[in-house]
């Protein structure tokens, strides 16, 4: 019961503020709503017993990425709403794409629930309650089995950092 209350409150906050995020015209308001969504998602991670992901979601996403976004929004002076341009067809197209994908996935999930034994929702219930506090296991897995992807991720971050500096740098020898 408590599980349900926690899940539905966090999920409601996440979905509502995500909806606000894609509909606000002021970019700063969108960023704030996205921060709320990310924090609610962090709460859901905690409910799923992923403590390390909970804290790294807050530190990396909210503390790093979103601060970067807000810096850029203020740098390019987007904190005033843009003039409204009528582009209704695009919003309708986006709405119908989202609706079609939602219906498709909902049909798949409901069918999978109706025919047990063939769907994707069949999980071993014995394994479900066997995840202890697992930051140590996560570290062992990350630095053992997944050591090579970890190193590749570090190279990716280095390349992204150099690329971002090169992109954003002011060119001094501009023609």
């Amino acid at each position: 019961m408590l599980d349900r209350v926690i899940f539905f409150s966090f999920a409601g906050i996440a979905v509502i503020s995500a909806l606000l995020m894609v509909t606000r015209r002021n970019a700063i308001h969108s960023a704030i709503c996205l921060i709320t969504t990310l924090l609610a998602t962090a709460g859901i991670f905690l409910q799923l017993r992923a403590e390390f992901l909970f804290i790294s979601q807050i530190i990396v996403y909210v503390g790093g990425i979103m601060v970067l976004f807000i810096f850029v929004i203020m740098l390019v002076r987007l904190d005033v709403p843009l003039p409204r341009v009528r582009s209704r067809w695009r919003q309708w197209a986006a709405f119908f794409v989202a609706l079609a994908v939602f219906l498709e996935a909902a049909v798949v999930l409901l069918m999978a629930r109706k025919t047990p034994g063939q769907g994707l929702l069949i999980l071993n219930p014995a394994a479900a309650d066997k995840l202890p506090p697992n930051t140590e296991d996560l570290a062992k897995s990350l630095f053992g089995t997944y050591l090579l992807p970890f190193e590749i991720a570090s190279i990716l971050l280095l390349v992204a950092m150099v690329g971002a500096v090169v992109m954003a740098k002011k060119r001094t020898d501009a023609p």
Binding site: V15, F52, L53, A93, L138, A153
Partner: protein, 100 residues
């Protein structure tokens, strides 16, 4: 314990809201934020399956996705600043340098 379908539906909802934002919005910064939202929805799926199978591999992948999102945000915002310096706009409609 909650059935896993709830988490899958939450992830699906966030994914669809994010793709709506990518398609419908003209402001490039909000498009980038919608992409972050999509990556976040994927993370919910990974962590939920990790919990239900009792394995930590899903959480490792979610960590990689967070690192990937950070790299993507840095490069995307760098491109946007360079573009804004040249053209003084952030609207996707007006980014037509490569349009033939």
């Amino acid at each position: 314990m909650m059935p896993i379908g709830h988490y899958l539906f939450l992830s699906l909802a966030l994914l669809l809201i994010g793709s709506f934002g990518v398609i419908a919005r003209r402001n490039v910064i909000i498009v980038l934020m919608s992409i972050e939202l999509i990556l976040n929805a994927v993370n919910i799926n990974l962590v939920a399956f990790s919990r239900y199978y009792g394995e930590v591999a899903g959480q490792v992948f979610a960590l990689f996705i967070i690192a990937d999102a950070a790299a993507e945000a840095a490069v995307g915002l760098g491109i946007m600043i360079a573009f804004f310096r040249n053209r003084e706009t952030v609207l996707a409609d007006e980014m037509d340098l490569l349009k033939w």
